[in-house]
C-alpha cells in the first residue's frame, strides 16, 4: 500500500471522520460564536459600571439612543427600497433572455468588490454638499441631510445582496407555476402576485436579513461619507461605537445593538413567514392592463436606471475626483503601501482558514439535515452575519484581551480572528447551499462503486461544487478586504487599506490621496476578482 492509500484509508475511518467534525465544530463555537456574543456577558459582570457611567449619564444615553434609532431607521428604509427595486431586477436576471445579460449580471456584483470606505467617499462626493476645499464640478451636490446620504450609500452595497438572494429563490421556483396560473386565465401580474410572490417568503427573509444586517453594521463607508460632508454630530450606532472611548459605554451600545438586531430579525422572519399576501382578491382589468405593453417595459427600464444611477455611478464616481483636483504634497504613500500589505495579508489568511474550517462544517450541516446538532449549527452560523461587525469586533477584543488596547503582531492576529468571525458564515452558507443542490446519489453511487468517502468527495462532489467554494472564497476575501468597523473596534493601530482611507479623510482631510487610494484599492480588488473568475471559467472549459 502506498503512503497516499494508507492516508486515504486512515482518514476514511469513521472514528477519524467524527474527530475531524468535532474539531471543526469546536473551532466554530470557540473562535466564531463565543467571541461574537461574548460582550453580552459584560452586562452581567460589570452591570454597576454600565449603571454609573452610562445609564446615569443622560447626555450619553440620548446620544446612544439617537444613534441606534438612526441605524434602525436607515436599515429599515434601505431594506424596503432594496426589496422594491430588487424584485424586478431579480426577474430580469432570472426569467429574461437577452443579449448583455451576462454584463448586467457582472455589473450588479461590482459594488461588492469595492471597500465600503471607498464607496462612502465616492457616494458622498457624488451626492453630498461638500466643504469648499472639496470641489468637484461633476458632483451633484444635492443632498444636505446626512440621514438621506447614508441611506443612498447603504443602498449601494446592500442592493447586490438583495438581488442575489431574490434571484437565487426565483431560480428555484418552477416557472411552470406561473404558466399554469396563466393557462387558468390569470394575467401575468395576477399570476406573479398570487402564485410566485407567496412562494418567495424564504428568499425574502434571507434578503431582508442580509440587507438589514449589512446596513446596521456598516462603519467604514458611513464614517468616510460623514467625514467627507464634514458632518460631526450625526451618528449611526456603528460610527458612535467607533468614536466612543469608555468601555462600559461601548459595551452597552454593542449589547443593545446585538439584542435589538437579533430580536428584530427573528420578528421579521416570523412576520414574513406568516404574512398573508392576499390572493383571494383579484382585479382582472387593471392587472391585465399592467401586465402587457408599456407598464412592464417601464418597470424594467426603471430597474436598470436605478442600477446605473443609484448604484453604479455613485460607486465609481471617485474616479472623476483625481482628474478634477490637485494632489497634496504631504501624503505619506509608504503608509498606504504598508496598509495594502496588511489588508491582503489579513484577507488571505482569513480566506484560507475559512476554506479549511468552513467546508467541513458545511458538508456536515448539508449531509445531516434531519439531526438537531447540524440544524442548530446551521442557525448559529447566521448569527455573526446579523451582529454588527463593529460590535462583533469589540466583543471579540473583550473576549481575548479583556478590553485592554493591543498593538503589533498580536493586534493583527486579533483582527484576523475578527474577520474570520464575520466571513466564516459566508463560506459555510455558500458551500452548504451548493452541496444541498447536488443530488446525493452521485456520491452514493461513487461509494457503491468502491470509492471511500474522501475519494468520493475529491472525485465527484468537489468538482461539482468547486465554483461555489470559489465564490465563497471571493466573498470572504473581498468582505475582509473592505471591512473597516471590526478592524477599528479591535485595534486602531492595525492599519488596513480601508482604515487608511478613513484616516486620510477624517483626520488629515487629504481627499486627493483618499481618492487615489480608493482607486488603487478598487483596481487591485477587481484585478483579483477577474483573475479568479478567469481561473474558474478556464477550469469549467476544461472539464
Amino acid at each position: 500500500m502506498s503512503r497516499l492509500e494508507r492516508a486515504t484509508a486512515f482518514v476514511s475511518k469513521p472514528r477519524i471522520r467524527n474527530l475531524w467534525t468535532l474539531i471543526v465544530i469546536v473551532f466554530f463555537l470557540a473562535f466564531v460564536i463565543t467571541p461574537t456574543l461574548f460582550v453580552l456577558t459584560y452586562a452581567f459582570t460589570n452591570w454597576d459600571l454600565i449603571q454609573t457611567e452610562v445609564i446615569q449619564d443622560p447626555e450619553m444615553m440620548s446620544q446612544i439612543w439617537t444613534a441606534i434609532a438612526n441605524s434602525f431607521e436607515i436599515a429599515a428604509i434601505v431594506t424596503l427600497i432594496d426589496i422594491l427595486v430588487g424584485l424586478p431586477m431579480a426577474w430580469i436576471l432570472v426569467r429574461k433572455k437577452f443579449r448583455g445579460k451576462e454584463l448586467l449580471d457582472t455589473l450588479i456584483d461590482m459594488p461588492l468588490a469595492v471597500p465600503t470606505a471607498a464607496l462612502g467617499f465616492s457616494a458622498a462626493i457624488f451626492w453630498g454638499i461638500t466643504p469648499a476645499d472639496l470641489t468637484n464640478p461633476l458632483g451633484l451636490k444635492i443632498v444636505s441631510s446626512p440621514f438621506l446620504l447614508i441611506i443612498l450609500l447603504h443602498i449601494i452595497f446592500s442592493y447586490p445582496y438583495m438581488v442575489r438572494s431574490l434571484s437565487a429563490i426565483l431560480e428555484q421556483i418552477d416557472q411552470t407555476f406561473e404558466t399554469a396560473g396563466q393557462t387558468l386565465g390569470a394575467s401575468k401580474l395576477t399570476a406573479v402576485r398570487t402564485i410566485t410572490l407567496p412562494l418567495f417568503r424564504a428568499g425574502l427573509v434571507t434578503g431582508i436579513i442580509l440587507c438589514f444586517a449589512r446596513s446596521l453594521s456598516e462603519t467604514g463607508g458611513t464614517v468616510a461619507a460623514l467625514a467627507t460632508v464634514a458632518n460631526t454630530d450625526f451618528n449611526t450606532a456603528p460610527t458612535l461605537i467607533d468614536s466612543l472611548k469608555s468601555t462600559p459605554a461601548l459595551a452597552f451600545t454593542s449589547i443593545v445593538l446585538i439584542i435589538l438586531a437579533l430580536v428584530l430579525l427573528v420578528v421579521v422572519a416570523i412576520v414574513v413567514k406568516k404574512l398573508h399576501i392576499p390572493f383571494r382578491k383579484v382585479w382582472p382589468r387593471p392587472e391585465k392592463i399592467l401586465s402587457r405593453g408599456l407598464a412592464p417595459r417601464l418597470k424594467d427600464a426603471t430597474s436598470v436606471l436605478f442600477l446605473v444611477f443609484i448604484v453604479l455611478i455613485p460607486s465609481f464616481f471617485v474616479f472623476t475626483f483625481v482628474f478634477t483636483s490637485s494632489p497634496s504634497t504631504t501624503t505619506d504613500w509608504s503608509q498606504f503601501g504598508q496598509s495594502l500589505v496588511n489588508s491582503f495579508l489579513i484577507a488571505g489568511v482569513v480566506t484560507v482558514i475559512d476554506l479549511a474550517m468552513g467546508i467541513p462544517l458545511a458538508l456536515y450541516i448539508a449531509k445531516n439535515r434531519s439531526k438537531w446538532l447540524p440544524e442548530t449549527l446551521d442557525i448559529l452560523v447566521n448569527v455573526p452575519l446579523i451582529v454588527p461587525t463593529v460590535a462583533l469586533g469589540f466583543s471579540l477584543k473583550l473576549f481575548w484581551t479583556g478590553g485592554t488596547p493591543v498593538s503589533g503582531p498580536f493586534a493583527i492576529f486579533l483582527v484576523m480572528l475578527a474577520h474570520i468571525a464575520f466571513t466564516y458564515p459566508l463560506m459555510v452558507r455558500n458551500v452548504t447551499g451548493a452541496v444541498e443542490e447536488i443530488d446525493p446519489t452521485y456520491e452514493e453511487t461513487a461509494r457503491t462503486l468502491g470509492a471511500k468517502p474522501i475519494q468520493g468527495f475529491k472525485r465527484v462532489l468537489f468538482p461539482m461544487i468547486k465554483a461555489s467554494i470559489l465564490a465563497g472564497a471571493i466573498m470572504a476575501f473581498t468582505r475582509s478586504l473592505g471591512e473597516t468597523g471590526a478592524t477599528r473596534a479591535v485595534s486602531t493601530t492595525v492599519l488596513t487599506a480601508p482604515n487608511y482611507i478613513v484616516n486620510l479623510i477624517k483626520l488629515e482631510n487629504d481627499y486627493y490621496a483618499a481618492a487615489l487610494a480608493c482607486i488603487i484599492l478598487i483596481i487591485i480588488s477587481y484585478a483579483l476578482m477577474l483573475a479568479l473568475r478567469y481561473i474558474t471559467r478556464r477550469r469549467k472549459g476544461v472539464s
Binding site: 476514511s12 446519489t441 452514493e444 461509494r447 457503491t448 462503486l449 468502491g450 475519494q455 472539464s543
Partner: protein, 338 residues
C-alpha cells in the same frame, strides 16, 4: 437470493423498495436485521467494500467525466493496472454498444445511452451484486420495452446477482427470474412471474400484477371447484379453496381471463359500456346492473362482433379464478395502488 439470480422488487411508490436497495448497498443502516452476502454478515461493512453497485433512477453519471472516465471510475479507485483498465474499458464499451462515443460527456448522450453507460460503469467496477433502482423509468415507453431484454441478458451473461426495483408490473413479469411484491414495507409475495400472475397471494397482488375483476360472496359449495354466491344470487365458479362453507370471500379473476360472449351461458348478464382498442388487445367494460363493472381484455383479432350497448354474458373458467379471504380493511382499501 441465489447467485446470479435476477430478482424484481415490485410495488407502488412509497412501498419501501428503494429503501431495501439502500440497505443492501449499505447506504442506509437498518434499525434491525442482517444483510448477508455469501453467508457473511455485511452489517459492519462500509458501502465501498460490499461490491454491490447501485444504479439510481437518474443514473448519476458524473457530469464532469466522459463516458470512458465514468466507466473507469471503479477501476481507477481500485487502482487496477493500466493494461487491465484499458481492456476492461474496451470490453465494456463493446458490451453496451458505445464504442463510438467514449469521449462524449453524459449531457451529450440520449437517455438510452446514459442508461447503458451507467450499466457499464457498474459492471466495470467488478460488482458481484447489481442494484437497479427503476433503471428504465427515465426512458420513453416504447424504448423501455425494447431495452428490457437487453438489460436482463447483460446481467445474466455477466453472472451477476441482480435486484431490480420497479413499479411496472409488465417490466417485472418480463424481466425477472423471481418477483417480490412489496407493499407498505412488507413483502406480500415472492415467486416466479408465472406464480405471481397465476397464483396471487392476495387480492392486491391479483390486481396489481395485471388487473383483476373481483366478486364478493359466500362459499356455497366445495368440490372439484368452488362455487361462490353473491348477495343478489349470482353464482360464480373458482378454484378449490380451504375456506369454510358460508364464509365471506372474494373471488378474483384476471381481466385477461375474463370471457365475454353474446350467446351461451354466463355468470352475469351485462351491457357493454365501453370498448377501447389497445393494439394487441381490446379493453372492454361491461356494466352488470347492481353488481358493478367487469372488465375484460380480449385479443383484438377476436373482436368484431361486439359493440357498445350490446347485451353480453360474462364467464370465466373455474381454474382461472381464485378465492381469497375477505380483506380486513375491506376490498377497496386492499386494492389501493397508491
Amino acid at each position: 437470493m441465489r447467485n446470479g439470480e435476477y430478482l424484481c422488487l415490485l410495488g407502488p411508490t412509497g412501498a419501501g423498495k428503494t429503501t431495501i436497495l439502500r440497505i443492501i448497498s449499505g447506504l442506509t443502516i437498518p434499525d434491525q436485521g442482517n444483510v448477508i452476502f455469501d453467508g457473511i454478515s455485511m452489517n459492519k461493512i462500509e458501502p465501498e467494500d460490499r461490491r454491490a453497485v447501485m444504479l439510481s433512477q437518474s443514473y448519476a453519471l458524473f457530469p464532469q467525466l466522459t463516458v470512458a472516465d465514468n466507466i473507469l471510475f471503479g477501476p481507477d479507485i481500485r487502482q487496477y493496472d493500466q493494461k487491465v483498465k484499458q481492456r476492461t474499458l474496451a470490453e465494456m464499451l463493446d458490451l453496451v454498444r458505445l464504442t463510438h462515443r467514449p469521449d462524449a460527456y453524459p449531457s451529450e448522450l440520449s437517455g438510452g445511452m446514459m442508461q447503458r453507460t451507467a450499466l457499464a460503469r457498474a459492471l466495470a467496477s467488478g460488482a458481484s451484486v447489481l442494484l437497479l433502482d427503476e433503471p428504465l423509468r427515465a426512458l420513453d415507453a416504447r424504448l423501455r420495452i425494447s431495452l428490457r431484454h437487453e438489460l436482463r441478458s447483460l446481467a445474466k451473461s455477466m453472472g451477476i446477482t441482480t435486484i431490480h426495483v420497479t413499479h411496472d408490473q409488465d417490466e417485472a413479469l418480463v424481466m425477472a427470474d423471481r418477483i417480490a411484491v412489496i407493499r407498505e414495507g412488507r413483502v406480500v409475495q415472492v415467486g416466479t412471474p408465472g406464480d405471481v400472475f397465476d397464483n396471487p397471494a392476495s387480492p392486491f397482488v391479483a390486481n396489481f400484477v395485471g388487473q383483476s375483476n373481483f366478486f364478493i360472496g359466500t362459499v356455497e359449495e366445495k368440490s372439484e371447484s368452488t362455487s361462490v354466491r353473491g348477495e343478489l344470487g349470482h353464482v360464480v365458479m373458482a378454484r378449490p379453496c380451504d375456506h369454510k362453507l358460508g364464509e365471506k370471500v372474494v373471488v378474483g379473476v384476471k381481466v385477461g381471463n375474463t370471457e365475454v360472449h353474446k350467446e351461451g351461458e354466463g355468470y352475469f348478464d351485462g351491457t357493454v359500456e365501453r370498448i377501447l382498442f389497445e393494439g394487441r388487445n381490446i379493453f372492454l367494460d361491461v356494466d352488470v346492473s347492481d353488481v358493478g363493472r367487469f372488465s375484460a381484455k380480449i385479443p383484438s383479432w377476436r373482436l368484431g362482433r361486439l359493440a357498445v350497448g350490446d347485451k353480453v354474458k360474462i364467464k370465466w373458467s373455474a381454474d382461472k379464478a381464485i378465492v381469497f379471504s375477505m380483506p380486513l380493511g375491506g376490498l377497496e382499501k386492499e386494492l389501493r395502488v397508491e
